[in-house]
């Protein structure tokens, strides 16, 4: 095999069927990303992994790798774009890092820090998103949701429960819970579910275990998110890859 494309001037080998982001991460080259997860099929909604190919731009997580591509990623232009996208996410939700249990383990925060985001840069939307504390063991804080759909995918494809789904559209798009009451307590979610592990921000929180690891010793306190490329290299999916119930 071993056809290659160029990423910022370096040769990246790829396997057939890999996307640009998957190939880059497998080779230990980091492209910033948020909604991508190594165990799931990329769907390309956050657009943070956008790269430049000639005069075009494309989300690298969904773009099929092709021999001979010349891709620019770590440039001021692309990083400025990513910075703005991250700022948009901060402005869209209600993110109060100092009081968030996920601080230090949060990918949005880590990415913002890496990209040099100092302020949201835009007016905040301050949406009204009540929390769901109905479940005895799990808290849902929708204020922090960045609509990456990872919990939706994990719950459908791995847990085969479809506890989460998306409703609404545009700026009113939001996460919903698969119950007539709309409450998490009325679903069959379990602490051991894959959906419990994939939230890149602090929406899905285990109750009564807050701050078990002190601030300062958390994942992204140890080393920046950009140094963890290989951790995000694609690995075999833990589920079927499709949602039987939704996709048939």
């Amino acid at each position: 095999m071993s056809e290659t494309f160029q990423l910022d001037g370096e040769d990246i080998p790829f396997a057939p069927g890999q996307t640009v982001l998957q190939a880059a991460l497998s080779a230990g080259h980091y492209i910033p990303h948020l909604c991508y997860h190594p165990e799931f099929k990329p769907h390309g909604s956050c657009k943070v992994c956008t790269v430049k190919i000639g005069n075009r731009t494309a989300a690298s997580c969904t773009m099929p790798a092709q021999a001979g591509l010349e891709i620019e990623s770590n440039t001021e232009e692309m990083n400025a774009l990513r910075r703005t996208l991250v700022q948009m996410l901060f402005a869209e939700g209600n993110h109060f890092c100092p009081s968030c249990e996920k601080s230090g383990n949060c990918e949005l925060q880590a990415l913002g820090s890496d990209l040099g985001v100092m302020t949201a840069g835009f007016r905040h939307f301050y949406p009204n998103r009540p929390v769901d504390a109905s479940h005895p063991d799990i808290l849902l804080d929708f204020n922090r949701c960045i609509l990456c759909e990872l919990c939706v995918r994990a719950s459908c494809e791995v847990d085969e429960k479809c506890v989460f789904a998306l409703s609404g559209r545009g700026i009113t798009k939001h996460l919903v819970v698969n119950a007539t009451s709309g409450k998490l307590a009325d679903t069959d979610i379990a602490l051991t579910d894959k959906a419990m592990q994939v939230c890149p921000v602090g929406v899905i929180i285990k109750k009564r275990v807050g701050f078990a690891v002190p601030i300062g010793e958390r994942r992204y306190d140890q080393r920046p998110i950009s140094a963890q490329a290989l951790d995000d290299a694609p690995r075999p999916p833990s589920g079927s890859g499709v949602c039987q119930a939704c996709e048939e």
């Binding site: 657009k47 703005t84 869209e92 789904a165 609404g168 559209r169 545009g170 007539t180 119930a245």
Partner: protein, 646 residues
């Protein structure tokens, strides 16, 4: 009128008609909505059981489409079309009038649960606005008298289906016809011409037929006619009329070449681009030509199933179109063995949309056809290889299929001689706005904007918005430009603004439109369109600064670089076009040329003032902000855009 009860048997009969097939979810929900007026939680639960779909998935579909409601919206739902052309005809004044008459607040159901009034995106009646949808049925040419009549009917609880039929009379307003609107083809003519073709010995088509015969396992003599049809479409240089202008023959050929089966033919009649209504007229006046074109396509690409995706706003056309399909089945122009051809089986189903502009994007349309939220797909793969249910699918616009039928009848050479070198054939324009004769105009490609303006009786024209909000806005110095793919490509909208109009308000209306219609899938469009809307509102309220104009530039850059589909890519166009050509209309609204915070300290005290009933100087932070704004007031008053009757 919606029933108050939806019995289990009612639900069963709807499910039965759709074979309890999850791909029909949207159609099932739409019928429940029409029958019952809303979709109660218990119905979602029961659908979840019958269709074996997670309830959250169904809730997600209900939440995506504007015309589906998970909460009661009253027995009468009255939605004013809110395109800029409706505004120019005074729809906001009429909306307020209706709300007052019905004693209700816009966007809220009346206390007795009888009615609700709100706005909706352009309903495609720009040449006979202002318009509204009454429980989904279009009523054009609104006046206060007409609204009085509607109020009476609502208060007497007369079902919308029993309202006087003259209220629903929609005109075609065909002002200029050419080969398409003026054709006198009889149903089946084009199909008979296509089937009659034979291979000329030694021709390229014969060679192709021989080659494919082996690959497709069909005798080459049987391939001559369909491949000749494909060849004629290619030869005609016909390009897609939905706006993007992809060569139709190449699309059909790629679909035929796709190995997988079955193949599908889909007609995109989700004419959502504000200011566009030519497909509505084609569906009314040329339905046979359209279905003939789709059948020609099925013949050329060897498809057995077709869909017409009809926008929800054109619900009123459904019965008529189904009758045309039925007549064609009786005439052996649809169904099995069409015109006696053994292997030629094809039929067409109509799917209705439910209020989502983004479903005009072909991959979102396919998702919607499959009964899902209308989110544009990642591409590649493209619909020609992985479309409906991941099978090869050809999606074309209504006008494209109509033109294809004419090509099949008269030949590719005949067609390519019309228009310009790069843009063969004719284009149908939907002309609306400030002109004496709004309506439908068909021209050979290459016509100048000036010519169209003269023909429709436009005077003192300030600007023309070509191809709707996602198109381009041009000023008077550009009226010699031509309607053609190589100059002004258009899906058909042609909105005229005269010198009395404020182009800032035009752009602001379009910014609201994009924010309302963004599907919300990708970050840049979901957040960016909402930010653009907020920025335009900030400028309108007199709080804008140079900083905000710079922010619009930044948003545009982000959307162009990273949005998932064309909606996001074009969302800033109207603002940038008007900013470039009519900058003073923005600048006279700017409060200061320096930074001005979005947070309005004095405005934050408004609630306290309302609660205490005070509005004196002492209840304001400073006199400066208490004074009426120097800039024009926000358009809620309607004074800026509505013309005063004199």
């Amino acid at each position: 009128m919606p029933r108050l009860d939806l019995s289990p048997t009612d639900l069963e009969s709807i499910l039965l008609r759709y074979g309890s097939d999850p791909t029909n979810l949207l159609q099932i929900l739409r019928e429940i909505q029409e029958f019952h007026g809303w979709i109660p939680p218990a119905v979602i639960d029961s659908l979840s059981q019958s269709l074996s779909l997670p309830r959250g998935h169904i809730e997600g579909v209900v939440g995506f489409y504007s015309f589906l409601h998970a909460e009661p919206i009253g027995q009468f739902r009255l939605l004013f079309s809110d395109n800029i052309t409706d505004r120019m005809l005074g729809n906001q004044d009429l909306l307020e009038y209706l709300c007052n008459k019905l004693w209700l607040e816009r966007g809220h159901v009346s206390e007795d649960g009888l009615a609700s009034v709100d706005t909706t995106s352009c309903t495609g009646l720009c040449d006979q606005g202002p318009a509204l949808l009454a429980n989904g049925y279009a009523i054009p040419r609104l006046t206060r008298q007409r609204l009085d009549q509607i109020v009476e009917l609502v208060l007497q609880k007369v079902p919308v289906t029993q309202w006087p039929s003259e209220m629903f009379l929609i005109e075609d307003n065909i002002r200029r016809s050419d080969i398409l609107l003026g054709n006198n083809m009889q149903p089946g003519d084009a199909l008979r011409a296509a089937i009659a073709q034979v291979c000329v010995p030694g021709s390229a088509v014969e060679a192709a037929a021989n080659q494919r015969s082996w690959r497709e396992g069909i005798p080459s003599v049987e391939l001559c006619a369909p491949l000749s049809t494909l060849e004629e479409i290619k030869r005609s240089n016909l390009r897609g009329r939905g706006g993007a202008g992809f060569t139709t023959g190449l699309k059909w050929e790629a679909c035929r070449n796709a190995a997988d089966e079955p193949r599908y033919v889909v007609c995109n009649a989700d004419e959502g681009e504000p200011g566009t209504f030519k497909d509505r007229v084609l569906l009314t006046a040329q339905a046979n030509l359209l279905f003939e074109g789709m059948t020609i396509c099925a013949y050329a690409i060897k498809a057995k199933h077709g869909f017409l995706y009809l926008r929800g706003e054109y619900r009123y056309l459904l019965e008529t179109l189904n009758a045309v399909l039925e007549a064609r089945r009786s005439a052996n122009l649809l169904g099995n063995g069409i015109l006696g051809q053994a292997e030629f089986d094809f039929d067409i189903k109509i799917h209705l949309g439910a209020g989502a502009y983004v479903c005009g994007e072909e991959s979102a349309l396919i998702e919607s056809l499959e009964g899902k939220r209308g989110i544009p797909r990642n591409r590649p793969p493209y619909p020609v290889t992985h479309g409906y249910l991941q099978k090869p699918t050809t999606v074309n616009n209504v006008e494209t299929f109509c033109a294809a039928a004419l090509v099949a009848l008269n030949g590719g050479d005949w067609y390519r001689r019309i228009g310009t070198t790069k843009s063969a054939g004719t284009k149908i324009l939907s002309v609306s706005g400030d002109c004496a004769r709004p309506g439908i105009y068909e021209y050979p490609f290459g016509v100048t904007v000036r010519q169209v303006l003269a023909d429709c009786g436009a005077e003192n024209t300030l600007a023309v918005q070509i191809s709707g909000p996602s198109g381009v806005c041009i000023g008077a110095d550009e009226f010699d430009r031509r309607i053609a793919f190589e100059d002004l490509a258009t899906a058909g909208a042609f909105m005229v603004f005269d010198e009395s109009r404020d182009m800032f308000e035009v752009a602001r209306n379009f910014a609201h439109f994009f924010a309302h219609e963004s599907c919300g899938f990708c970050t840049p469009c979901r957040v960016g369109t909402a930010m653009l809307k907020a920025t335009m509102d900030k400028i309108a309220a007199g709080h804008g600064t140079q900083y905000d104009l710079a922010e619009i530039d930044q948003l545009n850059r982000i959307l162009l670089q990273s949005a998932h589909c064309g909606l996001g890519h074009t969302a800033c166009n109207p603002t940038l076009d008007t900013l470039k050509r009519f900058r003073p209309t923005y600048e006279r609204r700017l409060k200061s040329l320096d930074f001005e915070p979005a947070f309005d300290l004095d405005g934050a005290l408004a609630t306290a003032r309302r609660m205490t009933g005070r509005d004196d100087a002492g209840a304001h932070l400073s006199m400066e902000t208490a004074e009426p704004l120097a800039a024009p007031p926000p358009d809620e008053s309607g004074v800026l855009l509505a013309r005063t009757e004199s």
